[in-house]
């Protein structure tokens, strides 16, 4: 990744964190830096700037892992497997972060840390899938076989994702917007009803976290390549 991009994303995300935490919430916003105060959500609404982009980055990481798995199966080049597993390990980290930020928000808005809302169930299953993926990898010694089988598993797991995102929230009643029984937003993609300035910070955060993911990903891939190289050298000597 280019140095200017690294500096840019650092500044960008610092700005978003400051905006997300420090911008005042008032009943009637007057200036560009004032967020509207929504009864019921109150100051807790700030979490949307962090929780949703992290969840989004989790999905991006999972999709990248699956795509590199497919490319590995086609090309049989072990480097694609390194990319796939790097993305999956970052995805696990982001998934835990999304679960924790979501659980804290749930505690203060809905009353308990966990209430098996469809989306909470989905993120829990995603955690299980990542866990199973790494368990499977640790159960196979041979490098190429491990790469092939874990790629296949990530594809099989990947095709069940639409069932969680689109199907489950429709048949189970839930607390997230877009669930069954929610009159205002029916559908997996919410209608954005945020104030324009908040929406801008939100989308900026979405971009910022995505770029941050790619930065971390490129670091992780390089680390994995070096580790593999060192391992090969120690094995031959």
């Amino acid at each position: 990744m280019k140095t200017w991009l690294k500096i840019a994303v650092s500044v960008w995300l610092t700005g978003i964190i400051i905006a997300g935490i420090a911008f005042p919430m008032v009943k009637v916003p007057q200036t560009w830096y004032e967020f509207p105060f929504i009864p019921g959500l109150e100051e807790k609404a700030r979490n949307i700037i962090f929780h949703v982009p992290i969840s989004w980055a989790t999905v991006v990481a999972f999709a990248m892992s699956m795509i590199y798995g497919i490319i590995y199966l086609r090309k049989k080049d072990i480097d694609y497997d390194l990319r796939s597993v790097s993305s999956a390990s970052l995805g696990l980290l982001l998934c835990i972060l999304a679960t924790v930020t979501g659980a804290i928000w749930a505690k203060f808005n809905w009353g308990s840390f966990w209430n098996w809302d469809p989306r909470q169930t989905s993120i829990f299953i995603l955690l299980l899938i990542y866990g199973a993926y790494f368990v499977l990898r640790s159960a196979i010694d041979e490098e190429e076989r491990r790469a092939t089988l874990s790629s296949v598993y990530s594809i099989i797991a990947g095709v069940t994702v639409p069932f969680f995102i689109f199907v489950m929230p429709r048949i189970m009643s839930g607390l997230h917007p877009g669930s069954l029984g929610d009159e205002q937003g029916k559908g997996p993609v919410l209608e954005f009803k945020m104030a324009p300035n908040m929406l801008m910070v939100f989308f900026a955060s979405l971009i910022g976290f995505t770029v941050l993911y790619f930065w971390m990903y490129s670091l992780k891939v390089r680390q994995m390549r070096i580790e593999r190289h060192v391992q090969q050298i120690t094995e031959t000597h």
């Binding site: 199966l73 169930t121 299953i125 995603l126 299980l128 899938i129 866990g131 199973a132 368990v135 499977l136 159960a139 196979i140 010694d141 190429e144 076989r145 092939t148 089988l149 790629s151 296949v152 598993y153 594809i155 099989i156 797991a157 095709v159 069940t160 069932f163 969680f164 199907v167 489950m168 048949i171 189970m172």
Partner: protein
């Protein structure tokens, strides 16, 4: 059609080799008897809610599927017959043959489980039998569709026994939750039309799983 006849022969081979020993079937029947009696013991004089009971029914079905369905591929690796099979027939026929065999096995098992569940647990009353049996049928198809490819994966791994439920649970969870929902509808006496949504999910899950497995099975089998 080459593929149909070879798949049929794979199916027959599975069936014959199973009936030579009846190992899987006997072990599975004992498993069902054991789990059902544990449930009966733990219920005792209590009358648990119908929601809990429809959940436990699918727990029993899930874990008996987990202990039975992995055998088709693991046995091939253990006996060292997978190489011969790879030489003789193409991967797709092996997949289809084993999928059909797994489906038949799990269907027989879940029917046995469901019948004994309805007979022995008196609190569990099914009011709409059409929904109940359709759920059993489609649920078995879904279980077989996902477990066949996963069984092929774990047959190549080192720790075979424990890995299977770990890999299968997150993938089968949407199926199981839908099955539990449909079973609840059956016990509440809903009309068949009300469960259409659940059946659509079960069918689409099965179709998606079979199509994907069919595409990637080659990589697992030839590895």
């Amino acid at each position: 059609m080459m593929i149909i006849s070879t798949s049929y022969h794979i199916f027959v081979k599975e069936f014959v080799s199973e009936f030579r020993t009846r190992y899987a079937l006997n072990a599975l029947l004992m498993f069902v008897v054991t789990t059902l009696s544990i449930i009966l013991f733990s219920i005792g004089q209590e009358s648990p809610s119908i929601d809990v009971l429809s959940g436990t029914l699918w727990i029993v079905i899930f874990f008996s599927a987990m202990s039975g369905l992995s055998r088709t591929f693991v046995a091939e690796e253990e006996r060292g017959t997978s190489l011969t099979l790879r030489l003789l027939v193409n991967a797709s026929s092996v997949y289809i043959g084993k999928l059909v065999y797994n489906f038949a096995l799990i269907l027989v098992l879940s029917v046995i489980i469901a019948v004994s569940y309805v007979l022995f647990i008196t609190e569990f009353t099914v009011k709409t039998f059409e929904i109940f049996w359709l759920t059993i049928l489609l649920g078995s198809a879904g279980l077989a569709s996902a477990s066949t490819i996963l069984a092929a994966i774990i047959a190549k791994a080192n720790t075979k026994g424990t890995l299977f439920p770990v890999l299968a649970f997150p993938i089968l969870l949407p199926l199981l939750l839908t099955c539990i929902n449909a079973t609840k509808l059956a016990t509440e006496g809903a009309f068949l039309v009300e469960a259409v949504k659940e059946f659509q999910i079960l069918i689409s899950f099965t179709v998606v799983m079979i199509a994907t497995s069919f595409l990637v099975f080659d990589f697992v089998w030839k590895d």
